[in-house]
Symmetry: C2
Subunit: 321 residues, 2 copies
């Protein structure tokens, strides 16, 4: 399956009634610190607080109506869970969300507030997958994987598509990398709509499975390392791996301390709320100043679902206490 | 001295090259909670992170050039200090800022980063005023009071002036109340540019000196109570008291717990950073639901200089831990 330019613009038309066109913000004082020209695409302001709403709407709207009557299902403890439940509620269908018992309380609350039917399970990947299979068998709901799904990837691609209509011809676009959904979508949108822009994926140094996977040409599974960028713990899957490989996407890795520093730079200077996973891109600019000096750079702020109870921990890592 | 409609529009023209036109944001989920139509004027995104930049620029630009060569001075441990230092730096004049030794580190850092010359003193009001007098005598700098100054009030009035050009004919405009600078400016801008809108000032219940002052017709001094809305501890002075009295401005008071709840509602739902002093207006809507139901309401989000080290304390007050 090949995703075309039309697939992306069609997805954008399809989801536009349901999502926000998010703003692009700039900040003089961060530009002065990095000596570059940064354009932040604020998907933290997106519905449900992350870009995942784009993929969720596109995926649901791509299932045929008859099947949709049975609802949709997924397993996730993060932003995809909330986005899928929200999109399902908005489109008046059922959603079944398999979540580990120890998922963060605020994520569970979010899914509940969107009328998602939560099925709890143990926290291992095996338990999640087994529970999901049971749910799908019983309900006949359509499984929508968080990223290893072409309709999800097309939906996530619309963030960059929208960005290139707001900011012309950046030298770089930097995107957080977990399972690779938003990164593979961005690599395609860039190829079609801003071909002179270089795409870079960024992941935590202690969760560098995608970097190693692309270097060695085979998928390494994630060991779910304890990075503060908790949205980036997952590993690539077949579809995202193939797209990133075909488009020869470069990967950079960043330190935990720099992620925490980038988090506070954005919160304190820009006065917007972002989550650690969203700021690895700024961390990459901070760790590679020479390379990015004087460049025009898009940074995808992927989400704003910050767990405020963890602020003291993040401050410690940033060396602020 | 009477501030006219022209004074406000002139101030706006004068300061426009130096300040941000701040956006007005809305949020569906907060509207659903309050069952009203809320328009947040985001002065947290203003230069230096608060509306104080408006008054500071207008005040400095209203001093004659000869006098300006000696610089400007003030005493403040808060947003006015940073705003005055920033405006002075931008306009290439000196600023002398008297700050108590125990002022928050981030405020001291902000003033330093804007090249403000800091003179430390003890934390009592007497010590601050005596130190300021000494500084003014020695330097011949012009003293710019944080709010008891007509040029400051005209500058602060431009926030509401700008708002009424963005949002037409709200039923109410709600404004935080400390010394009364932004509230008296707003009451004048509303009288001239949106006369059917009702202005309400909001202060913490444990810092209700302005409420009592207007009720009893005499200024009560602040006892600097320990409210989390630390920007609202100051008391009215002659000029702000007179304007609020003449315009018959209503005052509401709010509980600490509601302030903390409003803080997290805005941070978590709107994904923007605000300080406790900025959210007393939303707290007032939450405490007076019946009155504000179905109404179109402007809320002035006065600033975004949140002290992140205090998040655990605020969460406790909001009952989140």
């Amino acid at each position: 399956m090949k995703i075309t330019a039309n697939d992306i613009s069609d997805a954008y038309k399809k989801i536009s009634p349901f999502i926000h066109k998010t703003p692009v913000l700039t900040n003089n004082s961060i530009n002065r610190i990095t000596n570059s020209d940064l354009y932040f695409k604020c998907e933290n302001f997106q519905k449900t607080g992350s870009f995942k709403a784009r993929g969720a709407f596109n995926a649901i709207l791509s299932v045929n109506e008859q099947k949709l009557k049975k609802g949709v299902a997924t397993h996730s403890s993060g932003n995809h869970a909330a986005a899928l439940a929200f999109a399902a509620q908005r489109l008046k269908i059922k959603s079944f969300i398999v979540m580990p018992k120890n998922a963060p309380v605020n994520k569970i609350e979010a899914v509940k507030s969107y009328d998602g039917l939560i099925v709890f399970c143990d926290s291992s990947l095996e338990a999640r997958e087994a529970t999901l299979e049971k749910v799908v068998t019983q309900t006949c709901a359509t499984f929508i994987h968080p990223y290893n799904n072409y309709d999800i990837i097309k939906g996530q691609a619309t963030a960059a598509y929208e960005f290139f209509n707001q900011i012309e011809k950046p030298d770089y676009i930097l995107v957080p990398l977990g399972g690779g959904g938003i990164l593979s979508g961005t690599s395609l949108a860039t190829k079609y709509f801003s071909p002179n822009t270089k795409v870079i994926g960024v992941e935590p140094q202690i969760a560098d499975d995608a970097f190693r996977s692309l270097r060695d040409g085979k998928i390494y599974s994630s060991t779910y390392p304890n990075t503060i960028a908790d949205g980036l713990r997952t590993s690539l899957k077949k579809r995202t791996f193939r797209i990133l490989k075909e488009n020869n996407v470069e990967i950079l890795t960043v330190k935990e301390k720099t992620i925490a520093e980038a988090l506070f730079l954005i919160i304190e200077r820009m006065k917007i709320v972002v989550e650690p996973s969203a700021v690895v891109t700024l961390a990459a600019v901070l760790e590679n100043r020479k390379r990015f000096e004087g460049k025009k750079i898009g940074l995808l702020l992927s989400g704003g679902n910050l767990d405020l109870s963890k602020i003291p921990e993040y401050r410690k890592i940033a060396g602020k206490e």
